[in-house]
Symmetry: none
Subunit: 145 residues, 2 copies
DNA sequence: ATGCTTGTGGGTAAAAGTGGGGTGAAATGG
DNA sequence: CCATTTCACCCCACTTTTACCCACAAGCAT
């Protein structure tokens, strides 16, 4: 269960530390790929398998299915954490999510997977989220206990 | 079943004592997140699971689903009580709910979960509740209990 | 009164975060 | 096919933060 929002640095080599409390669930292979909204997504192997299966089930005749396939699979990387719990992000992925040493990175726990954000982009997204909820309070209904 | 209102202090390290009578129901993981009206909410693990399951059911391709997911999970923290029944609140959550060592905190039992309030905000909210009830009793009819 | 439980504060040892250097393997070019 | 270079991986070292432990103080009940 990944929860919370953490600020970390990206070093000159393109390495990013994963929060210590998440590492236990990321011992094996980890898949990093492009996410929607210009962030990166990080999946434990099992969760990735599930997601891949769902995408593979989409008919190849659906243009949206083809796009989603390319978005997820084309730039995906299977990596392992190093001894200090860091992952090496390819230059391509770093560029996609605008991750630089000076800007740093925000790691967000989303229950079953993680997202990696450029901090200023995350702030903007956050403001956007709040605005959307205020505009459309009915969305909160989903949360009724 | 959480009931009652209790006053506690927040120490310099950001720790907050949970009332002793509540601890029995909070032995495992506890999830703390921001609530509406600038308070924090505290959920036992089982109650949180219910919430999380509902949000996870939303597809990632729906922009509103993504926003809701990020709102709920990103600002939540999974914590354990320490040996003395205290939780450590992140700086971010403390700032959101205006919790400082000098102000202290009010813990409110709300049956299935708890709320944590800045004392003066709680008083204002309390007065607001009563005023609303007295001014326009008809408002409450819609709840038809 | 006197134990016991609860609330509060602080100190310390361990772990986490960050950066840099060396080594071997793969890639590139002649 | 060989020489050179680049890059990823592993190791080490330093700094900061976290979490655990203990000690004291203040009720409450016996």
């Amino acid at each position: 269960m990944f929860l919370g929002r953490y600020a970390y640095t990206v070093d000159e080599k393109g390495r990013l530390t994963i929060p210590a409390r998440f590492r236990e669930a990321l011992t094996g292979d980890v898949v990093i790929t492009r996410g929607l909204d210009r962030c990166l997504t990080v999946y434990p192997a099992e969760v990735w398998q599930e997601l891949a299966a769902k995408v593979n089930a989409l008919p190849i005749t659906d243009p949206r299915g083809r796009s989603l396939r390319r978005l997820l699979f084309a730039e995906a990387e299977s990596v392992k954490l190093d001894r200090h719990g860091r992952v090496l992000l390819s230059e391509w992925l770093r560029k996609y999510a605008e991750l630089t040493p000076s800007a740093g990175a925000i790691i967000v726990g989303l229950d079953r997977f993680l997202e990696i954000w450029n901090p200023t982009r995350w702030e903007a997204e956050n403001a956007h989220q709040i605005a959307m909820m205020e505009e459309d309070p009915a969305l909160w209904e989903t949360l009724h206990l």
